[in-house]
């Protein structure tokens, strides 16, 4: 088991280097990062001075080593807009994003999983149609559009929830729902299909043949097996929410990392964009490691190295 974790950690470190390389490469994709980051009105002299100041005229390999070394000690470069280190700016926005993502994930889990379970246990029932409808809806409704609709109906017309900002608890409801709907649909779909599969497993028949109550069978034999594939989907989706709440945060003026990203792009503040990309990828990698731990806890087959 230690070997398993060790190899996963090594893999994550390699992945991190891959991310750093990608991010480093991406701002240089046009060939001239200085021109990219300066306003379009800047004169050639100004751009030249900027290139000098940022060290873009050094050999690429030196720049890359410098960049990696900086990330190692937590120096993600300076924001051009704020003229301060980028990492604290990102960290400052982290709680808002985490709050939004957590609320969205909770909503998705609390609705999606029970609906999928009930649907999977009673295929063809009304609840089953509901679960499948939700899955299809979650797949087809763009969250940025859903956010606009929610605002125009629940905020503007009915006035039940605020249409933007982050203050009282009510303000998180609409953005969390808009962000969580697709995950909700995905969880409903996956829970349903894996419940359908598990409930026709032989060991469920064995459980019935023991005379156990259906409640016990659902909770102990079916749900614990259904939960295994859910873990990885929840982790992946949570990772996407950390990086993918950009529309939602933009529309609801939610002061999180997504909004910062959108602003940074508007300011052409690419060092800040870089910092956000690296930080979010790091969070996703850490999340993946946590998922591995969760797997070991709920699936004994992994604990003993069978899978």
């Amino acid at each position: 088991m230690q070997r398993y974790f060790l190899s996963r950690i090594l893999q994550s470190i390699l992945l991190l280097f891959g991310v750093l390389f990608l991010v480093f490469f991406m701002v240089r994709i046009t060939g001239d990062p200085a021109a990219l980051m300066m306003p379009r009105t800047a004169s050639p002299e100004q751009i030249e001075a900027f290139r000098e100041a940022m060290g873009f005229n050094r050999p690429l390999i030196v720049q890359f080593v410098d960049f990696v070394r900086g990330v190692m000690v937590g120096d993600f470069g300076n924001s051009l807009h704020f003229k301060t280190p980028a990492l604290p700016l990102v960290l400052e926005r982290l709680p808002a994003t985490l709050q939004l993502a957590t609320a969205a994930m909770l909503m998705a889990m609390l609705v999606g999983i029970p609906l999928g379970l009930i649907g999977g246990l009673n295929p063809g029932s009304i609840m089953d149609s509901l679960a499948r409808g939700l899955a299809l809806l979650g797949q087809s409704v763009p969250n940025f559009w859903l956010a606009l609709i929610l605002i125009s109906f629940f905020a503007v017309k009915l006035g039940w929830f605020p249409s933007f900002g982050r203050d009282e608890w009510k303000s998180v409801v609409l953005p969390a729902f808009a962000l969580g709907l697709s995950t909700m649909g995905q969880l409903a779909r996956l829970t349903r299909s894996s419940t359908l599969e598990i409930r026709s497993e032989d060991f469920v028949r064995t459980a019935y043949s023991k005379g156990l109550h259906p409640r016990t069978i659902y909770a102990k034999h079916i749900f614990r097996n259904v939960a295994i594939p859910l873990v990885s989907v929840i982790a992946v989706q949570f990772g996407y929410m950390l990086g993918g709440s950009i529309y939602i945060e933009f529309i609801f003026s939610w002061p999180g990392i997504g909004q910062l990203l959108q602003q940074a792009i508007g300011w052409r503040d690419f060092p800040l964009v870089q910092a956000i990309a690296v930080f979010t990828s790091l969070a996703v990698l850490a999340l993946n490691l946590l998922t591995d731990v969760a797997y070991v806890l709920i699936d004994p087959r992994i604990r003993y190295g069978i899978r």
Partner: protein, 310 residues
């Protein structure tokens, strides 16, 4: 009771069974069609969007760029103040929303179609090389692909789009390149599976050369899963293109696209909801149709799945 793994010895596909009457057979076919009715809906929706894109100049009642400031923010026909001359209403500059949506389908279909072509071509090349050569090449390539697939996709797409700037070609290239890993992964998996199967081994034993094996044995097997994947990915690209447009990172604002329309409509959410609602419905319609189509293709093209779904 909640399991269904008992064996019955009946053959549901035995349409030709002599003991069956014609009534049985007709009823059986009707059941099959009825079960696949969602696929029919998917095909109809998809074709209608493609038709809108292809024949936009002939279908659209107005020039999508023609402004008419006196008739700006006219509501759709079913709302008070709406009229049949602009069935879905007009936007803040008085442009006909229906015409703009029809023209917007062009951007969506173009991005989706060419994006998928590029992604599938790149992915198939990378995936079949990795799957065919195996060994160290395979593990390096797959390691990199798994890295790309584990990243927060949207963030990186937005990042690249911001660096490259707004143009249709850029958007297509971005999706084509960033979406190729998923095609590579599927291709590699299928190639590995087919390569290990008996008939390819016997073809190799019979002295067949590898280009022949790829063309004659591997490609035909790949087409089913790849077409299904392509449908879902095209739907996702249409989705993401609209999202980029919404952030102002897709095609230039002068081109009518669903994302650009949404971005413009956001400002009038309180006074003229329909400006943002209509393009959103168009995205949803397309995406719903393509998901239904994809589900159906998956069932039809993969007989193993079709069997288990019964």
């Amino acid at each position: 009771m909640a399991f269904d793994n008992l064996n019955f010895s009946h053959e549901p596909d035995s349409l030709l069974d002599k003991e069956r009457t014609w009534g049985d057979r007709v009823r059986y076919l009707a059941r099959l069609l009825w079960r696949d009715r969602s696929g029919v809906i998917g095909v109809v929706i998809f074709l209608s969007v493609v038709a809108a894109a292809l024949f936009a100049p002939w279908i659209a009642p107005y020039d999508p760029l023609a402004q008419d400031l006196r008739n700006s923010k006219q509501p759709p026909v079913w709302q008070e103040g709406g009229a049949w001359d602009h069935p879905l209403g007009t936007d803040n500059l008085g442009r006909d929303i229906l015409s703009r949506i029809i023209y917007g389908a062009r951007v969506s279909i173009t991005v989706g179609f060419f994006g998928v072509i590029i992604a599938a071509s790149l992915g198939m090349i990378i995936g079949s090389i990795a799957g065919y050569l195996g060994g160290r090449v395979d593990s390096v390539v797959m390691g990199f692909i798994n890295l790309l697939l584990s990243l927060p996709y949207l963030l990186f797409v937005v990042f690249i789009a911001a660096v490259l700037g707004r143009s249709l070609l850029n958007v297509i290239l971005i999706f084509g390149v960033t979406d190729s890993p998923i095609f590579a992964r599927v291709t590699r998996g299928e190639v590995l599976r087919i390569r290990r199967s008996g008939y390819v081994e016997s073809a190799i034993c019979a002295g067949a050369r590898w280009p022949y094996i790829i063309v004659d044995h591997i490609l035909p097997n790949l087409i089913g899963p790849l077409i299904t994947l392509a449908t879902f990915e095209m739907s996702a690209m249409i989705f993401y293109e609209a999202g980029l447009g919404f952030l102002g990172l897709s095609v230039p604002p002068s081109i009518p696209s669903w994302g650009n329309m949404l971005a413009a409509g956001r400002k009038y959410l309180t006074s003229a909801t329909w400006i943002a609602t209509m393009p959103g419905l168009a995205i949803m319609y397309t995406s719903l149709g393509m998901n239904l189509l994809g589900d159906w293709l998956r069932d039809v093209l993969d007989p193993r799945l079709r069997r288990s779904r019964r």
